[in-house]
Symmetry: C2
Subunit: 318 residues, 2 copies
């Protein structure tokens, strides 16, 4: 099968063996997949991953342990837990220390014609959600993780820092939850897009210091946390989504003095993400920059790496 | 009156005018005061403060607005709020943006024969608490702030990083709250002291990575947060007490990946600190390194600045 592989070098393999589902796993034909910044980071060495890239996908189950999933259109959670350790027993499967992670840690990903995942990771996609929308379920779930971790009340004043893909999703989720949400970014075209999605946008300099109860950092840079510390009010909360390379970040003394809470936030629940897409409460098709076939995968990765690029989608099978 | 003053230069003034209590304030004769690392930082330029240093004290009220406090032995909360802003209306007086802070921001401190404070800041000291013990109420309250911010259950496995004054207080507070608390430090003599106080001590290297639900950083250095990120378990909590100079700290990517919560923690409630001292649940007299008269204040400050110094107490009046 065809697959986009990284093992120190990024390349398209044309005759890779099809994956064999392990016990409890489904074999899924991949319809479409999305390129995430994490994929780009992996090609720079992040996580030391070698194998098929890709963890945002929609596909059709071709084979499942008891046949129940066969023919269903699905998306899949990316963390594959051992289900026997203390973390799994506590229900924190996404933090299982023995987990593999689709296309990130020890498990081939979805930039290929076929992928395997445990059936427990699958979610059926309703017919009202398009393939392109479904590709956004995984990153949108990461945005919904914010609501799992922080109580957001109607009219709470929230700032989302970063007008990239995750920022545009997080701002929509928070606005849909009733917050008075403002998106701060640096790219005029993306801020225009945000406004066309009904979001309030602002310059960071227009927001009073220490004036927001919740600041969500989706900048992907350490500068985001510095800005968040300037904008958050005493006893407020910063949700941190940015993972960055390097040893250093900002001095957290303002967090101590103002008794701020910083909450690290990663993968999230698929169900509310699918529901929001099905009900049209979050718009994602506007976030697609371009679509490529898998044969043009290298070109697609280059397009995704352009500064300020929105979502690049791979159309893999039909 | 005599007072230890910093205005770019640290010096003992011998004939400074006695302070005049403003409306609602008491005039307090200072019995004893403690030198805190913040006092040392101020003499290096922290907060840009100029005036009488000192914010940990015990004294006797000589004059109060309605006479009710006269003759009482008291300790005093250090944040003097405006009581009219939004923060004060919400009860977050310690975060009032208009506040003065005793010996730190816009208000002369307690390294003097007399000090003034609003009567609302005063707490009477019970006769079972000695003057020396009472000097520890303010830093001990900062340790009790942890219990205000984080739920600590019996047998929770907690690590306190830093065997300095605050670490030794925080570990006692957490152990008294029922936690299985372990103190990590670098100074053999202070770790021995900790053991003599009944605390469990350990080397950081002996503690398994990602094994503790709560890690409290009292190191006063950015290295503490790095170590805390190594020891805290996924979804765990780091309480951050260290305020440090400089622009940089550690990269918080591990906080994101493990969805850790970092809680900044500063001043705390006096009542539980006074009760713990009165009931002998927290021991502080062992933390006194030396006592000096106010005339020897410069020498006392130098002693407090010795690496690894415990609490230096100023005996001011009798």
């Amino acid at each position: 099968v065809r697959a986009l592989v990284f093992d120190g070098r990024l390349r398209l393999e044309r005759d890779r063996p099809a994956p064999t589902p392990a016990e409890g796993e489904a074999l899924i034909r991949v319809l479409a997949a999305g390129i995430c910044n994490t994929d780009l980071e992996i090609t720079k060495g992040y996580m030391g991953f070698a194998g098929v890239l890709g963890h945002e996908f929609v596909g059709v189950v071709e084979q499942s342990p008891d046949g129940n999933w066969d023919g269903k259109r699905v998306v899949g959670e990316i963390n594959c837990a051992c289900e026997s350790c203390e973390w799994c027993r506590r229900g924190l499967l996404n933090h299982c220390p023995n987990r593999t992670v689709l296309g990130i840690v020890g498990r081939d990903g979805a930039f290929a014609e076929y992928v395997t995942l445990p059936v427990g990771n699958l979610h059926e996609v309703p017919p009202t959600v398009s393939d392109t929308q479904a590709v956004f379920v995984e990153p949108l779930a990461a945005a919904y993780e914010i609501l799992e971790q922080v109580t957001v009340r109607r009219d709470d004043r929230v700032v989302v820092l970063g007008d990239g893909k995750l920022g545009l999703l997080a701002a929509q989720v928070l606005a849909d939850a009733g917050a008075e949400c403002c998106l701060v970014g640096r790219h005029a075209s993306k801020l225009e897009l945000a406004q066309s999605l009904g979001l309030c946008v602002s310059e960071a300099a227009e927001i009073a210091e220490k004036s927001r109860g919740l600041v969500v950092d989706c900048t992907g840079s350490t500068e985001g946390l510095r800005q968040a510390m300037r904008l958050v009010e005493p006893r407020g909360t910063i949700v941190l989504k940015s993972t960055v390379a390097g040893d250093d970040g900002p001095n957290l003394t303002p967090v101590v003095v103002d008794e701020v809470t910083v909450v690290g936030s990663r993968c999230g629940p698929f169900a509310p993400a699918i529901a929001a897409l099905a009900e049209g409460r979050v718009r994602v098709e506007e976030l697609v920059a371009a679509a490529y076939g898998l044969d043009d995968g290298l070109e697609a990765m280059a397009a995704a790496a352009e500064p300020g690029a929105l979502k690049v989608v791979l159309q893999i099978t039909v």
